[in-house]
Subunit: 390 residues, 2 copies
């Protein structure tokens, strides 16, 4: 996506992968997270995982919305984003309990007051309280907040999770094989444990979503919300303001700001139940985060063809983004989750029971595709209108 | 320091402390790091610590130096800074081995290429190799690198360390009491395990040091190195360029850039030996990081008076900074380490053996002060020229 690279982002992160090529990649090459020996407990039956991620540029949207409306509570959603971007990655190796967390917040103190920090930190605490009700215990061990306005324009909210986990309960993706089907869990809607409608946006592709959806006046009014060196042509090229209603939405009163700021849904309550009750039938797990629907390609344990021919119709948010930026569907599926943020690779005969568990949490789910044999790794996304090959 | 607050930084971080007031502060209220029950191993004789910190605005200096000279290797020093800011904090609770680490790097991809990421990541790996030779085992478990140019002007390099540690080997600062002396370890010079002279700057106060030392032309040539909303009067107010020789230095060819970029010294080799051989005599440990020589005040386990009347003469770098910014000594001691970056509280009769261990690594050390009884917490810094009270 040329817009994407002109904005200094890359959905496939080629440079990052080159830079880390000499690092130890862990015990299981196809696992969704790097998995290491049990340095913490020195038990050969256990492993350690340490994972870092954050809210990325979604914090800028929170900043704009807070400045425009005065609603400071949106910062709690950013806390949730930073947490879920870690937690749902850990879920993909089977880790769903006994996690420790700390946060790393870099702020421009001249723009981000202590009251915002309180929302982020209190939002994190509340998120962990909610998860605890579902048996997902995450202990909040503190973190660092640095005042670095010469580095950070507004605020960067990141977090790290550490877990010690039994080897026997790991999902390593090595069981993914031809014959598998893929159950996809919807990123949008309202799960039984969510308090409001979720647009499904997650925390990936937000640089695009923000610039593609919001109108040019944000560049002038909030120059701190973008890199001044970006080509003006790729900056805030959309038709919307944050406070205007979402066209085509059936949710009363939903505005563009809240629509884009929907806190990333965690699938932890669903996945905990699945990992506890259907562990042997789970062949692989993919969190469709950066890289969107192509993410699975990095974790296939051999040559095979992934066919996704029954994806949901993309949720409204992705349609509006595509209308704004004019991207091809091929580009959209590479950047955004397009309606599915968790993929469960399983036997065809177990798909139904997995779907039922998701549905019990009011999350839509269905068999979105399958794995076939091939002499190379390939992905085919087949929509009613086109066939997209990666 | 009015310059300090005008630049959006605060040595005491009052807002941050207010924001985290509801968080669990751990098992030992005066310990240098938050210490928690053993969530990872569920053993009542062990604890968990998870710590986050980073290179702060020192990364901007590396950026300027790299742009001006083409010397990309300075980024390895930033990796060391991010590591040592974590490690030397952990040392202060007694943790000196069996640590796991991951990094969180936020970059502006349009300014920071993959080659810089490689230096940071390779620099981290090399640092861990060096530490291993001294019995300090830190496993590098990966991390996250995000392309977030709309959030980060250049690059933010942060890291997180997790450790599981026996309670019986913790330093909690609860043994600090009147009658103790304070052995200070020098931040400058060249330790036996360092490959070059260290100015002693560490990784704190670097926003001040950069603006106070470098000349105004950096603002025009590298606008990406500062918040454009800062008052022009507090931006790059010094007399120096990065490539000019350090006035008054006896180190041949040392320039201002390398002087300011001296990678933060770790005291891990010294502290490991002390913790192993003199554990019972260590009453408290303070890493004089943010807050400089006043840092110890936050960790006193009761009312007492700390008198520091035998500090080293401040190393050259702090003299030059003070010459540039005209700060009072009171302000300087609140922001910078001023020559001592590790304080060991001990019995008077054990000070000599502690000093000998430090000296064996070619690190200067001496009794810099003592603890006396008082009805409140107070700190007196007494130099040949003045008495400073906090």
């Amino acid at each position: 996506m040329s817009l994407y690279s002109e904005r200094g982002v890359s959905s496939q992160k080629e440079e990052v992968h080159a830079a880390i090529k000499n690092l130890d990649s862990g015990l299981y090459p196809y696992a969704f997270c790097k998995i290491f020996p049990d340095y913490m407990g020195k038990d050969s039956g256990w492993v350690n995982v340490m994972h870092a991620d954050g809210a990325g540029t979604k914090s800028i949207l929170a900043y704009l919305y807070w400045k425009e409306t005065g609603d400071i509570s949106v910062w709690k959603g950013i806390a949730q984003d930073a947490i879920v971007m870690n937690l749902d990655d850990l879920l993909c190796v089977g880790i769903c309990d006994d996690i420790i967390f700390n946060s790393t917040i870099d702020r421009n103190k001249l723009l981000i007051p202590g009251a915002v920090l309180e929302q982020v930190i209190e939002g994190s605490r509340e998120m962990f309280e909610t998860l605890k009700k579902f048996g997902i215990n995450i202990s909040y061990l503190g973190g660092e907040t640095a005042d670095v306005g010469d580095v950070v324009r507004t605020i960067a909210v990141n977090g790290t999770m550490t877990a010690r986990w039994p080897k026997s309960k790991l999902i390593t993706n090595q069981k993914i094989s031809p014959g598998d089907v893929i159950v996809g869990l919807a990123s949008d809607g309202q799960a039984s444990y969510e308090t409001q409608y979720n647009s499904g946006i997650g925390s990936n592709g937000l640089t695009s979503a923000r610039h593609d959806m919001l109108k040019k006046s944000y560049a002038d009014e909030f120059p701190e919300s973008l890199d001044p060196n970006l080509n003006h042509k790729v900056v805030y090229i959309g038709p919307y303001s944050l406070t205007q209603e979402v066209p085509g939405s059936t949710i009363p009163g939903l505005n563009i700001g809240k629509f884009l700021l929907s806190p990333t849904r965690t699938f932890a309550p669903v996945m905990k139940k699945l990992l506890e009750e259907h562990f042997d039938n789970i062949h692989g797990l993919i969190h469709s985060s950066g890289g969107g629907q192509t993410k699975c390609m990095k974790y296939l344990p051999g040559n095979m063809k992934v066919i996704k021919d029954n994806l949901f119709e993309p949720p409204l948010i992705f349609k509006l983004i595509q209308q704004s930026n004019g991207s091809s569907s091929k580009e959209m599926y590479e950047v955004f989750n397009m309606g599915i943020r968790m993929e469960i690779f399983t036997n065809p005969q177990h798909a139904d029971e997995i779907i039922k568990v998701a549905n019990s949490f009011n999350i839509e789910a269905r068999v979105i595709g399958r794995v076939e044999g091939s002499s190379r790794k390939e992905l085919h996304i087949i929509t009613p209108k086109e066939v997209i090959t990666y």
